[in-house]
Amino acid sequence: MQAAHRLGFVLLLTPLVLWLALLIIIPHIDMFFVSLRERVGVGEYETSLANYRTFLEEPLYLMTFARTAVMSVLATALTLLIGFPVAYYIAKIARGRVRSALFLLCLVPFWVSELVRTFGWMILLRETGVFSSLLQWAGLAQGPVEMLYNDAAIMVGLVYTSMLFMVVPLVTTLDSLDDAVIEAGYDLGGSGPSILREIVIPHAMPGIVSGSIVVFMLSLGNYLTPIMLGGKDSLWFTELIYSQFIVRFNWELGAVFGFMLLILSSVIVWGTLRLTGQTLEKTMG
């Protein structure tokens, strides 16, 4: 019995261990060693921190790095601001069929590939696109208006792509809040904003944090949306990684970039958890 138990445990654990080891731990260890390699001649390498120095000394890299971080935080905040009322409506106000229909509507865009979805935004926003034509038709613009290839377009795309990942954890946590608790708040003299601040948001905190972490990581690591919707002034850090690996074939610098991105996301997630007093177990469990 005991042995059978153990065998079952091992069998269940094997895929997880394999997945972690083969796809995450081993590549990262390898990347780490690659990042510490300096090419001194053809096929000759030395161990040094030269690649990290390159990253720190080149303003374009640093600026893009910081821009990506700030934009991702902003996208996360916007997604939360838009997603919270949506989730609240689904979890607390909608009933029965309306509720499931609304939930499904959040999911529907994900039946289409991200590429096609992003292309949808291009159709709407480009110079000859729907919005531009509408503005001209209404007489609000004289000539064609270009709305693509700027930071705002990237932001729209990122928020749109991330919405579901914010709404789902929020609906789950808000769902677990007993309606009577909200009513008790009103009964004891609370007003709408005070109940939101003292009762609803504290209760939804695990959902807010876990949704934000997921959205932040997705935005930070997003490649397609910034490439398609952003212009030459709207570089995303993942574009730099791509160009180092694929275009310039400078794997060493690419590995450094990859590591910096990993460190950035780890630091920001850790900071958010500390700031909100949440733990990873509480938000992900």
Partner: protein, 367 residues
Amino acid sequence: MTAPDLECTHLTKRFGDTTAVQDVSFEVPPGSFFSILGPSGCGKTTIMRMIAGFLAPTSGDIRIKGRSVLDVAPNKRPVNMVFQHLALFPMMNIAENIGYGLRRKGLPKAEITRKVGEVLERIGLPDIGARKVDELSGGQKQRVAIARCMVLEPDVLLLDEPLGALDLKLREHMKIELKALQAAFDTTFVYITHDQSEALVMSDNIAVMNAGQFEQVGSARDLYYRPETAFVAGFVGDSNRWRGQVMGVSGDTLQLRSENGLELRGSCHGRRLARNDTAEIFVRPEAIRLGHSAQDVSHFDNRLSGEVTSLLFNGAASRILMRPESGGEEIEVTLPQSGEFAHLDRGAQVHIGWSSDQGSCFAAGTA
């Protein structure tokens, strides 16, 4: 004459086509314990939510201390509610839970701390302010939920079946405690429940509610001994129930022949019933006297004999089921606790009797 703390007049609530509450009027004098007792779905929760302000009545008026509160929002009404599952705020500790309403009123911090301390003292839990909600026992949570409302000094405290989630022993204990708390705070309590023993033990006045209407309002004793409708007779306490035709009327006493042929005598307590009417008669198991021989019960005007078919042992509330020889359904009779019938067995021959005064008759078809 002081105005009643709570007064509802011709209160009606309709949801679409269904009428949840129909033309209900009552008043609750200051400092009394008023219960609304009824089966689930009878509309008692709707009344409570209308008083609290979560629902607007379709018609009728609600007055608290003489002032109509219909256009007062729930967070401004001088009424607080203890919810069925208490609805303590899990994200706050006990002191913060109790202080919530005071904070919303904008009281200074020092005064909030003082008031919270006082009310915790009063409910007998002075040192739990810093604890979390889930660290308390069921009974403690109950008291905290009441304290959270009482600290605001409401004119009326509403309680929505707050004992439903407790186990039996604790429930019995909390009944007494609630009554004591009500006396200590000297506040009007309006309590809704489907559990008759809760209502009977605690209340000064009880309204029995059925299908959106009040069947009878009165003291526990009135409801138990002098039910005014068949529904009240059937709902409050246990009863043996027969349906039959009125064979004769003399004053208050009726002669009835039940559908399965029993000749019974009952009293209509002033209700109008005439010969050949169909009537229902209710007799409480404890109103029936049990005897070994026919002489034991000879002074009653209802007498039956038969065989014991079951013993329902339940300590002090033990009963027997007996099937009368003259036919008909089994009759429930309370077993006297004097020890005289301690060795009664299934199949034993017994004689039972009760006075016609103990049989309440109602015109059939009302319940």
